[in-house]
């Protein structure tokens, strides 16, 4: 599993106050995986929103073509599958990092395939972590710890 806590955290979007539930946006085109990641995160006291593809995720984040004024939601972490039809998790990551509003939000990439070039590509683009599927509870616990640590 790749790791790497990059750069400086601005105080804007990524800050999680102690005692607050982190709000996580989970993106995955597989229904079963969405349900699993949602439960894993909820069991770790996270508030969870799921999206079934990258365009929907971008919409939710306020970067989409169909975003309505005033409906932008703040998230503390984005966890996305790599392999998705249309826009991949990597492309989603790039869009988030290009956004002045959202670039400080940590992004975690998940994949069922352990491909070193894929991992380094994602980390170089600014992903906080790369996680291998299927996710386990210990993975999510580590992720949460990492998220809280990176905040400091």
């Amino acid at each position: 599993m790749g790791g790497g806590c990059g750069g400086d955290s601005s105080e804007d979007v990524a800050v999680v106050e102690l005692g607050d539930e982190p709000h996580v946006l989970a993106v995955d085109d597989n229904l079963i995986d969405r349900k699993l990641v949602e439960k894993l995160l909820k069991n770790s006291s996270c508030k969870v929103t799921t999206a079934e593809n990258a365009p929907r995720a971008l919409d939710y984040l306020g970067l989409g073509n169909d975003t309505l004024e005033g409906t932008v939601s703040k998230v503390n972490l984005i966890i996305t599958d790599y392999c998705m039809p249309g826009m991949t998790g990597y492309e989603l990551l790039k869009k988030i990092k290009e956004s002045s509003v959202l670039k400080e939000v940590p992004v975690v990439i998940m994949s069922s395939e352990n491909i070193p070039t894929r991992i380094s590509e994602c980390l170089e683009e600014g992903a906080k972590m790369f996680m291998l599927k299927p996710l386990k509870q210990s993975d999510v616990k580590q992720l949460k710890w990492h998220l809280m640590e990176c905040r400091n």
């Binding site: 597989n30 229904l31 079963i32 995986d33 069922s112 599927k133 299927p134």
Partner: protein, 154 residues
């Protein structure tokens, strides 16, 4: 039958599913995620898996029946099925999907057809096993007992 006997049967049955490779540690992860706030979590996720898999198996049958097989499309479906089966711990289905993908890559229609049969077989086997497992759980709960947690030495 007494609750204790059904509980014993459930434990033995579940262990056999692991021993025979139908299920792997990921299934235990699912069971551990279940709690009072979501007491039917495992059944819900597995039911989603059944629905999703049957759709995918249908799509695969149709896709491989075309005069010009779109191997990318076929691979896409197998990738989905491999993912879901892996996520719920259906090990033999997952392994059958892995083999299937290499035939897709090789654009080998015969190999793909054989793999589809294999995946279907493994799917229906594990479906049957899981339904039996859930039935045993239901019997225990209906008799006022609690579901024993399986401890495996993983």
């Amino acid at each position: 039958m007494e609750v204790v006997q059904i509980q014993r049967r459930l434990v033995d049955y579940t262990k056999s599913l692991f021993m025979e490779g139908f299920l792997d540690g990921q299934f235990l992860q699912l069971q551990q995620l279940q709690d009072e706030s979501n007491p039917d979590f495992v059944v819900e996720v597995v039911s989603l898996f059944f629905d999703d898999s049957e759709k995918l198996l249908n799509e695969l049958t149709i896709a491989l029946d075309q005069p010009n097989v779109d191997f990318k499309k076929v691979d896409g479906h197998v990738h989905q099925l491999k993912g879901s089966s892996s996520s719920i711990g259906a090990q033999r289905v997952k392994n059958a999907c892995i083999a299937f993908r290499s035939f897709c890559e090789g654009q080998n229609i015969e190999g793909c057809l054989a793999c589809l049969q294999q995946v279907k077989q493994e799917y229906y086997l594990v479906k049957n096993k899981l339904e039996t497992l859930f039935r045993l759980e239901q019997q225990i709960v209906a008799s006022g007992g609690s579901i024993p947690m399986i401890e495996m030495g993983f």
